[in-house]
Amino acid sequence: MSPLDANQIVALFRVIARRLAEARSELGVLDGAIGDADHGNSMADGFAAVVRASAEAAAAGCAAGDLFAVAGRAFLNAVGATTGPLYASALLRAGQQFAGRAEIAAEDVPALVSAFAAGIRDRGKAQPGDKTMMDVWAPAARAAELPGDPLARLDRALRVAEEGRDATRAMVASVGRAARLGERSLGHIDPGAASAVIVIAALRDALARYLSEARP
């Protein structure tokens, strides 16, 4: 398996951005039920900014591993809300891990899930069970860290991510804006959990496409 260069990392960001753009209004509806309906816009606009900044940096010769820090800063400058700092922290954490690398091995792509999860956890301080995106990121990170080929690891991560998302329906929010609703947050999927699944699914699908195209 040949490693991913800077342009292929940009392509990966493009898949995430496209999926989030498609889900913009759906995420807004989820967020409208228990929050302020801004989550779809935040995620779609944030990753659109990530694509713009990383494509520009890649064209200027930025190394693949350094694109994550570029992406993190772009996300933070583009998005407020909680989503801005949380995903900026996710991308910056991946940036620390991969800094200076000209290429990223396909085997290392699942580690993005762990890096994103760690960045979000440290910024947001939410625990699994709080009805947040951590109900997706925490189990997905654990699944992605288990041994196996990279696509199988992301398949597993996606499966538990979806379970985590669906489990938020039965949770009462205890942090974030929905926490103020108490019991009335019951029965609704957390929008941050839903968008986290979209990001993980996009990573998985982008890697699958890359591997199928890279195969002779």
């Binding site: 302020d36 407020g80 700092p85 103020r180 108490g182």
Partner: protein
């Protein structure tokens, strides 16, 4: 609801553009960041700068409170969405007169994170930042968990007190203490009669059934903590006063500042109807009204409803509240 709108994506920028034209005698846009509104009086060398920020859709909050002896710079977010860390950082830079900057904002997860990241950005430039987080909304958490409560219209009093203290040449620690004292002296409650719609989303983000009202409603359309049958204005005013004053537990004879704000779509005359009853109730409790404000001071798009904020005053707060100020909203 029918709207005056071009493209929903341009709404915030167009709002701010119109606002700074109307109030060009008091405020201007930051040269480097179109999401930062700066008081024409800022920065003042040697004085503590005052910064706030928050989502759009609450006009005249937050931008309306930029001005002389009030807020020096305001970070502007998307509708109902915290400003970016960059905008908070740029607002801090614009307000900095070399004596530190107090960021006085509401307790929301996004604002908390973005202010924290902004404070770290400007610390590298040698700007000292102190923060006070407003948490005056009684129904958003029980008394034992006051730190979890939302900040709502009590923020206006916090800005007024903080801005006045800074205008008197106080240190950053003194400004922070005064603003903290102001918000600690505030209790608020909101009642919603009709929901609001983010133009980009196109449907109300919650429903209020006809004939009902939501008590404890938030400033972003967060549903209230309980739904009840709609009552008369006097009964609603009594309920609001009860919620606020039971949490406050003030001795008789306390002097108060009282703010009744519309949430956007409630006619202003109805706010006076509420106030009439509220003042009667406070007087019956033996409280003194030092100052009352009634109008659309802190709104929530076209939500139907009102908020009540009661601030308990001592001699210091009274003097700071009365200090002359000039801002578009106050």
């Amino acid at each position: 609801m029918q709207r005056f709108i071009n493209n929903p994506d341009d709404l915030v920028d167009e709002t701010v553009a119109g606002f700074v034209k109307v109030h060009r005698d008091l405020v201007h846009l930051d040269a480097g960041n179109p999401r930062v509104v700066v008081s024409n009086a800022a920065p003042q060398q040697g004085r503590v700068g005052i910064v706030t920020g928050g989502g759009s859709g609450h006009e005249p909050a937050f931008i309306g409170y930029a001005g002389r002896n009030m807020v020096d710079a305001v970070a502007v977010g998307e509708l109902f969405s915290s400003p970016t860390a960059k905008s908070f950082a740029d607002a801090i830079r614009a307000a900095d007169g070399g004596a530190g900057v107090a960021v006085l904002y509401g307790n929301y997860a996004g604002d908390n994170m973005n202010v924290k990241m902004a404070a770290r950005m400007v610390a590298r430039e040698g700007i000292e930042v102190a923060t006070v987080v407003a948490n005056d909304d009684v129904c958003s958490a029980p008394p034992g968990e006051r730190a979890k409560r939302r900040g709502v219209a009590g923020e206006i009093f916090m800005w007024k007190i903080g801005g006045a203290k800074a205008a008197q040449g106080a240190s950053l620690a003194e400004v922070q203490a005064a603003a903290q004292k102001a918000i600690d002296a505030c209790r608020s409650v909101g009642v919603g009669l009709g929901p609001c719609t983010l133009p980009g989303v196109g449907h109300p983000n919650f429903q209020i059934e006809p004939g009902t009202m939501e008590v404890g409603i938030g400033h972003h359309g967060e549903p209230g903590t309980r739904v009840e049958a709609l009552k008369t204005a006097n009964e609603v005013a009594d309920d609001m006063l009860k919620i606020v004053m039971e949490d406050h537990a003030l001795p008789a004879g306390t002097e108060l500042a009282v703010l009744v704000s519309g949430l956007g779509a409630t006619p202003v005359n109805e706010l006076y109807v509420l106030y009439d009853r509220i003042e009667a109730g406070l007087t019956a409790m033996g409280m003194g009204i030092h100052r009352a404000l009634v109008g659309n001071y802190f709104t929530s798009l076209e939500m139907v409803g009102a908020t009540l904020t009661v601030m308990a005053l001592d001699a210091e707060l009274k003097a700071l509240l009365d200090l002359e100020t000039a801002s578009p909203a106050l």
